[in-house]
Symmetry: C2
Subunit: 491 residues, 2 copies
Amino acid sequence: MGSHMVEMMRPLQPDDFLTQTHEVLDFIADYYRNIENYPVLSQVKPGYLRKSIPDSAPYSSETIEAILHDISNDIIPGLTHWQSPNFFAYYQANASTPGFLGEMLCTGFNVVGFSWITSPAATELESIVMDWMGKMLKLPSAFLFSGNEGGGGVLHGSTCEAAVCTMAAARDRALKKIGWDNISKLVVYASDQTHSTFRKVAKIIGIKPSNFRPLPTSAATGFALSPDVVHMAMKDDVALGLVPMYLCATVGTTGCGAVDPIEGLGLVANEYGVWLHVDAAYAGSACICPEFRHYLDGVELVDSFSLNPHKWLLTNMDCCCLWVKSPSSLQDSLSCNAEYLSNNASETKAVIDYKDWQIALSRRFRAIKLWVVIRRFGVAGLREHLQSDIMMAEHFEGLVGADPRFEVVVPRRFSLVCFRLKPKVEGANGNELNKKLLEAINSTGRAFLVHTLIGDKYVLRFAIGGTLTELGHINATWKLIQEKAHLVEAL
Amino acid sequence: MGSHMVEMMRPLQPDDFLTQTHEVLDFIADYYRNIENYPVLSQVKPGYLRKSIPDSAPYSSETIEAILHDISNDIIPGLTHWQSPNFFAYYQANASTPGFLGEMLCTGFNVVGFSWITSPAATELESIVMDWMGKMLKLPSAFLFSGNEGGGGVLHGSTCEAAVCTMAAARDRALKKIGWDNISKLVVYASDQTHSTFRKVAKIIGIKPSNFRPLPTSAATGFALSPDVVHMAMKDDVALGLVPMYLCATVGTTGCGAVDPIEGLGLVANEYGVWLHVDAAYAGSACICPEFRHYLDGVELVDSFSLNPHKWLLTNMDCCCLWVKSPSSLQDSLSCNAEYLSNNASETKAVIDYKDWQIALSRRFRAIKLWVVIRRFGVAGLREHLQSDIMMAEHFEGLVGADPRFEVVVPRRFSLVCFRLKPKVEGANGNELNKKLLEAINSTGRAFLVHTLIGDKYVLRFAIGGTLTELGHINATWKLIQEKAHLVEAL
């Protein structure tokens, strides 16, 4: 123990740092080598970990070897392996070596860039990289710093954070006109396919829960939100003395990958003076490919736009890009000042203090990660990765279509295929059957999918995008699904 | 380029992963070796980086060597070096090798543990580590999962996030009684020393800005918030028909390290049915040392308590511990449900889904970092580190006290010393003098401090806690301060 204590009193000594990090890196590389051998969905039972881990912290230092031993024995069996090539659940969180390198640099420097002065490079690189991403997406110049029209981008940790910030800004813009005492009149619009996080966010920022409108969609529009439906809802609310404030449109909904028509929704939002946010958390990345850019048509009409490179752009968690046309609206709502934060650079107003663009004061140097990812892959490499995933999804869609027992339930747009076993019994809805199928697949540990409801149909979601996923994994999983379908149909 | 593209199509290949990570680790180790050679406060001018970085993303893959070259040439000069042993600004963000190892494991696994099922180990380790930390702080059992009284802890990214979640929970608890239409009647209380983030959070969650009460403190109470002052304010508000809702007490304020009397404030809060949160972001860590635990006396009366291991507990950014007595209040406000998130484990209610304890849906495996830090250092090692910092602060306080030109402005409690040059001219307040002194120190690049106002006095804050800071750095910086004092006094 004595020698550990000595070591511990120099907790950033460079030689120790190298020895210890190399040991952990070998462990992580082995994890990737073996990842296909683990059940994708963890098979442990609730409470399993308290049986193996002491209930109090150790008094003395423990070795890395002891810690890695416990991770192998106790932690890994309790992981659901998001980096497994057979992970097809939710939307992926695809890691990469460049993402890891960027995270190491962020963690190594460990600067806190809340104000420009606290690390000018962190702020300036973030602005530059947000412009890079904006140009990759062909966003209008109103969203780029280089456009000099007042707009720009910021890195958040999650869509939810981007939603809190933009919705608070929209709220305060509206309250400037009607006064804070009328906050209960504000209304937020979304579709029944919008991520549930937006309902949560509306409540967080003080919108009366009954003033959140999840407007209906249907198969007729491919589960996209119709501008007419929004128009009618806003008109009705105004007639009731309520005040439309914020509309969320989605490019690639979580449930089934639907795409709301941005241009049509933009016209309605502008008519009512409503803040329009586009949530492209998953599918926005695909829009860096020319053949998918059309899904963003009309984006010049929106107030803010977000997407998450930590989903599909090979950037390890966390990383959410948010662009706004009017950062001053964010700053009006989110500024945070104190004497100990004041400095000459901020007073000149010639610099960005990103603390006023986000919820928290403190912030990690996230830009360096996205910068390393973009440079290591290049735009060409990123496109290739996205296109390869989408080709695999097309392939899977073909497999499903070729088996008459199955059906693809909504047209595939990106790398998500929503499918199900057709009910064999006349009049049955097939939901119980598909639930059994899903459980049969997931309990093997050989693949992990989740379900959703589309209309009243219980549907299996097959989301492709894992970094390690190759065509062989798709084919093997399809074979597994067919086998299990055979079994549950026979029950 | 051809070979890069091939490499890029296997972006998590283990051998490549090892080669590339080793290269970056060598770079980071060199950074630590050379860190004292860089100016602590970056000396670049606004806009410096756009001159060296292309304004669009590269089309093709670039090498690691090219990226590291640019980091050396363009990024490092733009960093303010938070890990420099001569960084004494704000409060530190102290990195360590164990913190780095934990972050690598988090990034390597890259699991998204929003629900138990999405990685049971991530959820269960978090609960266990929060109990470890709670016991290290001798928190009452009402805050521990093992206490079986319904309470427990969660890891957030920042105090601000903890504040949003607890304040939203408090708001909804109050609105259950008075109805959402009365949201404009809710009042939030803090002191004029409370972190400015709480004012921002109150606004974020929809509290009318004029209903935020930054109550006055003074030198008489060491800038602590007096329970009598709070009592009077609440009484006045109730008389006006307003509804007291949330009170923030601080252990170790950012400005001067003041400690609010938790017990006295708890009694007032309980009398008015107000949610009491204790923000111990910086100084809470010190309370794992028996000699400082008394600052938490009365914590059994509070609703929630937070501290940031990413400040002073050798845990790299980000890591904020939040304990709540009534997690069900958080869940009432923050639950987020959707069909694709439903699963058998969640339905049994036998598991924790941390998505309902925080703002975002997605979440990193932060617990593994804190777990590695605690195990590598042991409680003994962590205490030793804290005590060593506090001893260095005592030493610095002694140096200031021994020079008659200077004064310590508020009594030191932890590792922050607030001091200033006494004005020589009769009737002068000395503020301009100390501002000049601060600028003279920081412009050398040999140390970085920030100022604050205490009452109407411009004061220099000397915050000790950098991982690499040793007594020699304190002495050298004091010598620098004395030299610069001599110069500015002669102006």
